[in-house]
Subunit: 476 residues, 2 copies
C-alpha cells in the first residue's frame, strides 16, 4: 500500500501546526454529514467505514514525509509531534450499509482539535466516494426490481482505487457481483465475465469463436452475440453451440447470451423467443450498454426479457451526480457548542455534541422519522414522543407510548484512540444494507420525487440552535 | 503499493485462458482511442502514460492471486503461464500532455493476443481517468485566461487514487498547483492552502484567529474571510492583521484573502476596493465555491477581481462529463487487418496497424489536420499532400510542398517487452502540454462549439476500410 498519510489538503497541516503552537489544543467535535441525496434519491447508503478505519490505523508520517514538510516551511517541534502521531480521540459512526438522510452525523469525531482536523480530508474522500457509488447502486437495483445487477465499470472509473472500492460499494448498495477480479478476491464478492468482441474477431467465424469458448468454459458459458449481427448470426450460432453441449451430455450451471448494443428491449424479446423455441428456456439473457436506472426502467416498461444487467460507466462514475458532497464541520470546541452560519439556510450546521436516533413503527419496523438530540438527552419508549418539523415548527406528530421503537444509530468505533469495533465482512454489510432498505416504505424508495424523510431535532437541540443563531445576529 | 495485477475484468482472464488453450496465440494489434471529447471540448489532453508504464512494469501474479484464480476454475497450465508472465510486445503512444482528437490511436499495443488482452482494463482505467481530468483542467484554465487555477478537490474525488492521480492530471492540463500534499511531494508540483472556517470558529474572535494564523505563517498568509460576514467582519479584520504585519516590518511573499461563499463577483470587487484603500494593492484575492469553467467565465464577464481560483468538486470529478470513454479495439490479428462494424457509424473502427501523423502549417506551427495512415506508408514534406474528409470524401484540401511539416505522433514505449522510454517529470509534461495547446488556433480552444479538428485517413487506409466494410456486407 502507498502510504496515504500525506494524502490530505495542505491547510489541514497548516491549521494543525497552528493548533500545535497555541498554548492549548482543546477537544473538538466534528460531524461528517451531507446535505442532499444524490440524483434526487430518497435516501443514501453510508459506505466506506472499514476504509476509514484502515486509514486511521495506518497513519504514519515517514521520515521522507517529514523532510518534505520541513522543505515546505513547517517547524521542527510540530514535525516531531507528527513523527509520533497517534490518534487519541473517540469516533462513533452509523454502521456501513445504513440507510441515511441529509444533515445526519454519519461519523462523529471527538478529539483534540489538531487530531480531528488531520482526519478531515481522508474521511471525506473515502465516505464521499463509497457512499456515492453505494447509493447509485441502490437506485439501479431498485429499477432492476428482482433482477441481478452486475458492476462492470472498472475501465471507466476514476483510477484504480475508484474501480476497486467502487466495486465494493456497488455490491454493498445492491449489485450481485462485479467483473472486478481484485475486488472479488479481496472483498469476497462474486465475480463474473465472459468474453469481448475481440475474442470473436480473432477467429475466422463467430461459430468457431463460440465453440472454442464453450470448450474452455462449458459450465459458465455466456456468449456475446452482437459482434456481427445479433439475430441473424449471434443468437443462431449460440443456439448451435448450446445444442452441441447438450449432445455431449453437458448441462452447464450457467449458460446464455449477452447483448451489448442495439435495441435491447427488442433484441432481448426476439432472442428469448429463439432460445425458447430451441428448448433453451433456462438460457440467461444478459445485457450491457450504457445502462443506468433510467434505461432499465424504460426497458422494464417495454417488457424486456433481460435477466441480468451489466452496468458500467454510469454506475462507477455515478454519472448523473458524480459527487456526494459530504462535509466535516465543527460542532463543539472546548465543551462549547459551535454553529456555522450561512446566508444559505441549508448550510447552517446543527451545533453541539449530538446523538442520532431512529424511530421505527413498532408494528412493521418501518422508519417513522430520525431525530438528532444532544448527547446528554435520553428518551424512553414508554413515554409519548413528540416530533416536530425543525423548519415548520407548528407541524407536530405525537407517537403514543409503546407504539414505536428507538434505535441509537451510532456505534463506538474508537474509544480514547483505541479501535473497539468489529469490522464486518462486505457480505455482511451487503445483507445489512438489504435489511436497511426494507425499513423504508415504498414511497421513500421510488426513483422520482420520493417522500422526504423527516430528520427532526429534539426540543433541546432546536432551542440551542436558535440561541446560537440569535447570538450570531441571525434572525430565526 | 497494492498489487494491481488482478485489478482487471474477469473476462480478460477467461479470454486469456482461451487463447492459451488455442493451438496458436497470434500477434494482435490493439488501438486505445476515444470517440468524443468530453464536455463538447475541441480537443483532449492525453494523460496517464507514466502510470500505464508503472502498471506494466509491476505485473506480477502472486501465489495468492493464482490460488484465487484456481478457486475460480482456471486451469493449472494457464496459471503456470501467469506465474511467469512477462510482457513481450511493442507499445507506442503519443507523449503525455499531447493535444489529441477523437478516433486517434493514443496507445498502440502489438503483442501476442493473450498478452495484449490482459493489459486492456488497466490501460483504459488509467488513461480514461487522467485524460478526463487533464482535459477538464484545460477547459477551466482556458476560462481563467491568465489567472491561476489551483486544484482543491481531494475530498470529493472518487477515492484516494482519484485525488492523487487527479491532482497530477489537473496540473498537467493547466492547474498551477494543488492542495494535495502527497501529490505535491510525489509529483514535484506546487502545493497551497491556508485555513478553514473551523480554524476561525475555535477562537473567541475572528481577529484573534487571523492574528494567530499570521503569526504562524507570516510569509504566506491568505485569510479566509467569510466565516461570519465577509465585508463587515472578514475583510476589515484581515486588513487589521496586514497592518499589524506591516508595523512589525514583515513583508510577506504572499498575503491576501480567500472568499468561499456568496456573490464572488460582487464580494471580490468590494474587497479589492477595501484592500486598495488600505494600501494593500498587492494583496491577493483567492476564491473557491463550486467553481468550474462556466462560473469562471461568468465571473470574468462581471469584471471580478479574483486573482486565484480554487477549483474542487467540479474539476476532480469532471462533473459535467464524468467519463472519458476511451476504448481498446482489435485492429489487426495474425497480420490481417480487423474491423469492428456497428449500426452506429461512430463506432466502426479503423482497421490495420496504423500510424498517426500531425500536419502543421510551416509558417506558424499550428495544426492543420491529423492523419491516420497504414504503418508501412511514408510521406514526404517535399511533395504536395492531399487531405480528404473520410465522411464527405469530395471535400479535399491540397497542401503545397514545403508548406507544411509532418510529425509522427507516436513514440516507442516498449520494444519486444523492454521499456525503452525516458519517463518525463510532471513539470516537463505540464510544459509540453502548454506548448501543445499553443499549436491550436483559438477557434479550436473556445469552450462552446469549437471548430472540429480534421482527423483524416490516408487514401490507403480509407480504401482498406471500405474493402473490409464491403466484405462484411456493410454498404459504404
Amino acid at each position: 500500500m502507498r502510504n496515504n498519510t500525506l494524502l490530505t489538503d495542505l491547510y489541514q497541516l497548516t491549521m494543525a501546526q497552528g493548533y500545535f503552537e497555541k498554548e492549548k489544543c482543546e477537544e473538538a467535535v466534528f460531524d461528517l454529514f451531507y446535505r442532499r441525496n444524490p440524483c434526487g434519491h430518497g435516501y443514501s447508503i453510508f459506505a466506506g467505514l472499514n476504509q476509514v478505519i484502515e486509514f486511521i490505523e495506518n497513519i504514519n508520517y515517514s521520515e521522507e514525509d517529514l523532510e518534505y514538510l520541513a522543505e515546505q516551511g513547517f517547524n521542527k517541534g510540530f514535525l516531531d509531534y507528527l513523527r509520533d502521531f497517534e490518534f487519541e480521540g473517540d469516533i462513533t459512526a452509523v454502521p456501513e450499509g445504513s440507510v441515511v438522510f441529509p444533515h445526519e452525523p454519519l461519523i462523529k469525531v471527538k478529539a483534540p482539535v489538531l487530531q480531528a482536523q488531520l482526519l478531515e480530508t481522508s474521511l471525506l474522500n473515502i465516505v464521499n466516494h463509497q457512499s456515492l457509488i453505494a447509493t447509485k447502486a441502490a437506485r439501479i437495483a431498485t429499477a432492476a426490481k428482482d433482477r441481478s445487477v452486475l458492476e462492470f465499470g472498472l475501465r471507466r472509473s476514476h483510477g484504480p482505487d475508484a474501480g476497486y472500492y467502487g466495486a465494493r460499494a456497488a455490491v454493498i448498495g445492491g449489485c450481485e457481483g462485479t467483473s472486478n477480479v481484485l475486488a472479488g478476491k479481496d472483498f469476497g464478492v462474486k465475480i463474473s465475465g465472459t468474453h469481448a468482441h475481440s475474442w470473436v474477431m480473432t477467429f475466422d467465424t463467430e461459430l468457431e469463436a463460440f465453440r472454442t469458448y464453450a470448450r474452455n468454459f462449458p459450465n459458465s458459458c455466456i456468449l456475446l452475440v452482437d459482434t456481427y449481427d445479433t439475430l441473424e448470426s449471434g443468437v443462431p450460432n449460440a443456439i448451435k453451440v448450446f445444442e452441441e453441449l447438450q449432445e455431449k451430455g453437458i448441462d452447464p450451471d450457467l449458460y446464455g447470451i449477452r447483448l451489448d448494443s442495439g435495441d435491447l428491449a427488442y433484441l432481448s424479446k426476439e432472442a428469448r423467443k429463439m432460445l425458447d423455441e430451441a428448448g433453451f428456456e433456462d438460457a440467461v439473457i444478459a445485457a450491457s450498454s450504457s445502462l443506468d436506472e433510467e434505461i432499465i426502467t424504460s426497458l422494464d416498461m417495454q417488457d424486456d426479457e433481460i435477466d441480468v444487467f451489466g452496468v458500467g460507466t454510469k454506475l462507477i462514475t455515478s454519472s448523473s451526480c458524480p459527487a456526494f458532497g459530504a462535509v466535516y464541520k465543527l460542532s463543539s470546541y472546548a465543551g462549547r457548542p459551535k454553529i456555522k452560519i450561512s446566508d444559505n439556510v441549508e448550510k447552517i450546521t446543527n451545533p453541539g455534541d449530538k446523538n442520532l436516533l431512529r424511530i421505527y413503527e413498532n408494528k412493521d419496523r418501518k422508519i417513522i422519522a430520525d431525530m438528532m438530540t444532544l448527547q446528554e438527552e435520553s428518551f424512553s419508549e414508554k413515554e409519548e414522543l413528540e416530533l416536530f418539523d425543525p423548519r415548520d415548527t407548528w407541524k407536530t406528530t405525537s407517537l403514543a407510548s409503546e407504539s414505536y421503537k428507538i434505535r441509537r444509530m451510532h456505534e463506538q468505533i474508537y474509544s480514547r484512540g483505541e479501535m473497539v469495533y468489529d469490522l464486518p465482512e462486505v457480505k455482511e454489510i451487503k445483507e445489512y444494507c438489504q435489511s436497511e432498505k426494507e425499513t423504508l416504505w415504498e414511497e421513500y424508495k421510488r426513483l422520482i420525487n420520493p417522500h422526504i424523510m423527516k430528520v427532526n431535532l429534539s426540543h433541546n437541540l432546536y432551542n440551542l440552535k436558535q440561541k446560537l443563531l440569535q447570538k450570531n445576529g441571525v434572525k430565526a
